[in-house]
């Protein structure tokens, strides 16, 4: 019986398989709920659904800062403090809604982001699979890596804009005493960098594929 040698690449592939399986399951659950939501939420005794959006604490969406009221309680070794402000305060506003349409917008947004992420993971799995087969510089891999980069960049740039619109709508409907909240507009620097790195990796792979082809056709 052939014994499969375990390597870090194989471990990554198994991990990606598990992530894909769980992601597929989550997508299925979301789809079933999306179909059931209109019925469940329009029952005689309707069940509310969760709706959560990212919010910024303070009057600004991109650079939130909020002045705080305070009392000086002591002299800290001669140091005096004044004008305290809460900066970069972000949170998640969770509400319950009986409007399945509104719930559907939030759900649809998460579903599309999830499907795009699964597509990127699927592409990454295919790249790892070719690496396991000993052909990492297959011509399709540079396309796959480029696709992953664009998926990450698109989700990273578009998702906050949609969430901002959803947050704006939600905050227009709500009045919260003693707290100023704004719809959050926050782009993840890490994911942007990740997407760009995949594009760089794709161009390196394109070059590598050319070299590999050159090597294969050298007699």
């Amino acid at each position: 019986m052939a014994v499969r040698r375990w390597s870090s690449t194989r471990a990554v592939k198994v991990w990606l398989d598990v992530v894909l399986m769980l992601g597929g399951l989550a997508t299925l659950v979301l789809l079933v709920w999306a179909m059931a939501a209109p019925i469940v939420m329009s029952l005689e005794e309707p069940i509310p659904a969760d709706l959560s959006v990212a919010v910024a604490i303070g009057p600004h969406s991109a650079l939130p800062r909020m002045p705080l009221q305070f009392e000086e309680i002591g002299d800290a070794g001669g140091a005096r403090f004044h004008r305290p402000r809460l900066v970069w305060g972000y949170g998640e506003l969770r509400t319950e809604t009986f409007s399945w349409r509104l719930h559907f917008v939030g759900l649809g947004f998460h579903l599309i982001a999830l499907l795009a992420t699964l597509w990127a993971i699927w592409n990454l799995r295919q790249v790892v699979k070719t690496a396991l087969a000993g052909e990492p510089f297959a011509p399709a891999n540079s396309h796959r890596l480029r696709r992953i980069g664009f998926i990450i960049l698109t989700v990273t740039l578009v998702a906050p804009l949609i969430e901002y619109q959803l947050g704006r709508y939600l905050l227009e409907q709500l009045s919260i005493e003693g707290l100023t909240l704004s719809p959050a507009l926050r782009f993840s620097k890490d994911w942007l960098l990740g997407g760009l790195l995949f594009l760089v990796l794709a161009s390196i792979f394109r070059h590598g594929t050319g070299l590999e082809e050159e090597r294969a056709l050298t007699v």
Partner: protein
């Protein structure tokens, strides 16, 4: 490709099969096939020397330069 490999012509002249040449030169049949069908991007000097030795020819007999206009 501007350089054309005339391996098939030399094989006919020497009454030798590609398999026989492959065994004598020590190059895989698939690599020789790449060479014969003009798909090769490059040829090593060692390969060229071995081919010339077994086919009893000069590199110029094996390779021919053709300008792109010759094709039309």
């Amino acid at each position: 490709m501007a350089i054309e490999v005339k391996l098939d012509l030399l094989l006919v002249q020497r009454k030798m099969s590609l398999t026989e040449l492959s065994e004598r030169v020590g190059i895989t049949l698939s690599n020789l096939s790449i060479l014969k069908t003009n798909k090769a991007r490059a040829i090593r000097f060692s390969t060229l020397a071995a081919l010339c030795r077994e086919l009893d020819c000069q590199p110029g007999d094996l390779l021919e330069h053709r300008s792109t206009e010759d094709r039309f």
